[in-house]
Each structure stands twice: as structure tokens, then as C-alpha cells.
């Protein structure tokens, strides 16, 4: 199980969640933040601090965001599990679906 960041984060990247995460598992892409599903410990610290309510527990993901469960996982396909975002730096690219998403109005 894991928490998942969805479309509300795109082009926003408030990063309040990054400060809260006790295991440093929230990674930054060019357009949005991603929670590493294997590194997330389900503690829920990130969810209440997101100003746009873009974070949800995987079971509670709204239907319009259902695709983001896969997006948060697939984006780490090449990176693997670095064991901490601080040392990993900015990811080179967003998930293709995020990269292709229309900028919010």
C-alpha cells in the first residue's frame, strides 16, 4: 500500500509534503511530485499538508485520479529505489502522461 499524488500537483509542487515525509520518499519531477510506492511507509503525514488535496491513500483515490496509482509507480521504473529523495535530486523526466498533461487553467 502507498499514498499517491495526483493531478492537483501538476505545475504546483508546493513541497509541504516533502518536509513532512519521515522517510524522504517523495521525489520531484519537472512538473509534479511523486511518492515512491516501495519506499512509502503509509504513515499519512503528507496527506493533510497538501494545500490542494492532491494526496490520497491508494484505497481512497478518487476515480478521476485512479490512473495516478500506476503513474506514481511507473515513473520510478528506471530509477529503482534510491532510498531517499534528497540524495537523488530532480528526476530527469515526468511520467509521459504527466508530461503530456494540459497545463491547468
Amino acid at each position: 500500500m502507498t499514498y499517491v499524488i495526483s493531478q492537483g500537483c501538476i505545475d504546483l509542487k508546493d513541497r509541504a509534503c516533502v518536509d513532512e515525509c519521515p522517510v524522504d520518499c517523495i521525489y520531484e519531477g519537472p512538473r509534479m511530485l511523486y511518492i515512491h510506492p516501495d519506499e512509502c511507509v503509509d504513515c499519512g503525514a503528507c496527506e493533510p499538508v497538501c494545500p490542494v488535496e492532491a494526496i490520497a491513500y491508494e484505497d481512497d483515490l478518487p476515480s478521476e485520479s485512479a490512473g495516478y496509482l500506476a503513474i506514481n509507480a511507473e515513473v520510478f521504473a528506471d530509477l529503482g529505489s534510491p532510498g531517499g529523495a534528497a540524495g537523488a535530486g530532480m528526476m530527469p523526466a515526468d511520467h509521459p502522461l504527466v508530461a503530456a498533461a494540459q497545463a491547468s487553467a
Partner: protein, 333 residues
């Protein structure tokens, strides 16, 4: 990794007598159906996830694993693992685990406890478990605060701590759990950090592999009552603050430099290392301080039983009849 492939070959493994399985296991197999109820951001989540992720590596049958806890936030741990478990009473988990481990050689026994549970109300049981060297692994979650009772200082809180029960600052000098364990003649003593899953997993592997009582102190953040207690030891800038203990690594304390040897029977230098984190100017050691071989209480207790059994063949009922009919007897007609 299976039970036979554990580190420190040559020593009898802590799980040697526990049945193994060929079935592949995942962390999910060890996750119970109970909703986890710690505060958001609690370090306990990270430890739980690490343990759930690590247990499949042992390759043990799930039904032969027992987690025992006392009282405190961390003591909810057994409910979240789909193994056998007991959430007992405050401070007593080591004594209950002693009974389990002595009664059954085929179980992998784990104790989950906190700084209040293990070092305050249960201090006696902890030191005696370590002294007896019962085959079990004790995970001591140290957040240096009482969480479940909402924020009083603990026996590991730094002196002068302002808490609900010490508005002018606490007066107690804290325990250093690693020093305490070494003083109690523990055979395996290690320290790790909740947020460093890789290190945590490595230490847990070695602790499980150790035959005897393994004490693992886990620095664990309480985001509610003692947030940031270990922040200086975390993140990318923490490297200088941490002394990562490995066998053979050069260490310096009290003006001496030597190669760390956790298997050295004399605990003097291991103890010296444990004192480093009391000095703010020296790095905090994490890793395995001590790992030595000593016969375990439970193995020896079972051996005594086996010896006695061999010397007394025959059906138990016949032997019982002989026992109660022993001594001088007489007949009444």
C-alpha cells in the same frame, strides 16, 4: 536470503531450529487485516514496513514466528503483522517471550518495546533477558518520550527536558540503552534509525541470525511529542554525524583509535564506543556494537530436559506411578 545464508557464518543461527518454507513470501503475507493506527508521520510506520519487507528474507514459516510486545505506541506492532502475536502488559514482554522461547525451540521470537516499556517499567526484565541470553530479538523503539500517555519525559529523555510532567525541566539523567545492554552482558547489541531502511534491514538480519538475545535500539521519531529528536542524524547532511560501525572500521574514542571488533569477548571498547553519542562533538555510532557467542538459556534448559528424559525411559504414566509411590509406603487393608 534463507536461514542458512545469514551473516556471521560459524555461529549457530538464531533461527536454526525454526521450520523454513520453500513458498515465496512477500511483505504482504506478513500484513494483517488490521488498520494501522499510529499518528501520521510516526517512525513506527517505517519500522513496520521494514520488518514486513525483511521477514520474507528469513524464509521461515509464518506460523513459527511470534511477536510479543508490552504497552506503548510501538507495542501495537504485533497486531499489524500476520504472525502469531501477543500484546501484553507494560514492561513484561521480555518475560513472556522468555517463556515462549524456552518452551519452544521451533519459534522465532521477537519483542517489540519502547524506551518507557523496556527501560522504565520493564527495566528488570530487559536486563535479565540479556543476562540469560534467551534466543529472541528485542526491537527497542527509542523516541525519548512517552507518546501513548501524551508527552511525559522518558528514561532516555535528555536531562532538563520540558514536558507535561516537568514544566521546569526533567531532573533525571538518561539511560543510554546500548551502554545499559552492554553492562548487562548482552551478546548482541546494535543501533539503527527508523528512516534508514537499508541499515535497519541489515541490522535486523544480523539480529535474527544471532542465537541469543539480540537488542536492537531503533532511533524512532515521534512527530507529535518529540519531533525532530534525531533530525541531525538524518538526511544528506548527516554523514558526518554518524559513525557507521562495521567490523574492522577504524574508530576513535577517548583519544584511542582502534579497529572495531564486535566479536571481541571483552566489551570494554564496545562500551567506550557506546559512550560517544553522549558527547555532542563526536558522531553517533550506529550498527552492531557487539556480537559474541554464548550458550543460550533456552537451549541449555532444553538440553537439561533431554538429558533427564534419556535417563528415565518408560511411559510417563508408569514413571508417575513410581514417583508418587516412592519413599516408605505401607499397606492398609
Amino acid at each position: 536470503m534463507t536461514a542458512t545464508g545469514l551473516p556471521f557464518p560459524g555461529l549457530r543461527s538464531g533461527v536454526e531450529l525454526v521450520p523454513t518454507t520453500d513458498q515465496p513470501q512477500t511483505g504482504k503475507d506478513f500484513t494483517s487485516d488490521q488498520e494501522v493506527r499510529w499518528c501520521p508521520g510516526c517512525g513506527d510506520y517505517a519500522v513496520l514496513k521494514a520488518v514486513q519487507g525483511f521477514l520474507p528474507d528469513l524464509g521461515l514459516r509464518r506460523e513459527n514466528i511470534v511477536f510479543v510486545s508490552g504497552i506503548g505506541c510501538s507495542s501495537r506492532f504485533p497486531y499489524y503483522l500476520d504472525t502469531y502475536g501477543m500484546h501484553s502488559i507494560h514492561g513484561r514482554a521480555p518475560s513472556i517471550a522468555t517463556g515462549i522461547a524456552t518452551a519452544r525451540e521451533d519459534l522465532s521470537v521477537w519483542v517489540v518495546t519502547g524506551d518507557g516499556d523496556a527501560l522504565s517499567i520493564g527495566g528488570n526484565h530487559l536486563i535479565h533477558a540479556l543476562r540469560r541470553n534467551v534466543n529472541m530479538t528485542i526491537l527497542l523503539f527509542n523516541n525519548r518520550i512517552y507518546g501513548l500517555t501524551k508527552g511525559q519525559y522518558s528514561p532516555t529523555s535528555e536531562a532538563g527536558k520540558i514536558t507535561k510532567s516537568t514544566p521546569m525541566g526533567s531532573l533525571d539523567h538518561p539511560f543510554n540503552p546500548v551502554s545499559l545492554a552492554l553492562g548487562a552482558e548482552a551478546t548482541f547489541v546494535a543501533r539503527t534509525i527508523d528512516s534508514d531502511r537499508k541499515h535497519l534491514t541489515t541490522v535486523l538480519s544480523a539480529a535474527a541470525a544471532h542465537r541469543g538475545t539480540s537488542l536492537v535500539e531503533i532511533y524512532q521519531n515521534c512527530p507529535i511529542f518529540n519531533d525532530g529528536a534525531f533530525d541531525t542524524l538524518k538526511g544528506a547532511d548527516a554523514t558526518e554525524q554518524l559513525l557507521r560501525l562495521e567490523p574492522g572500521v577504524q574508530v576513535t574514542a577517548h583519544g584511542h583509535t582502534w579497529a572495531h571488533d564486535p566479536t571481541e569477548p571483552d566489551p570494554t571498547w564496545q562500551f567506550a564506543l557506546s559512550r560517544l553519542d553522549t558527547d555532542p562533538h563526536t558522531p553517533t555510532p550506529i550498527g552492531i556494537f557487539r556480537q559474541v557467542e554464548r550458550p543460550t538459556y533456552d537451549d541449555q534448559a532444553r538440553a537439561q530436559l533431554a538429558t533427564a528424559r534419556q535417563a528415565a525411559p518408560g511411559e510417563p504414566t508408569d514413571r508417575l506411578a513410581a514417583l508418587i509411590g516412592s519413599g516408605d509406603t505401607w499397606m492398609v487393608n
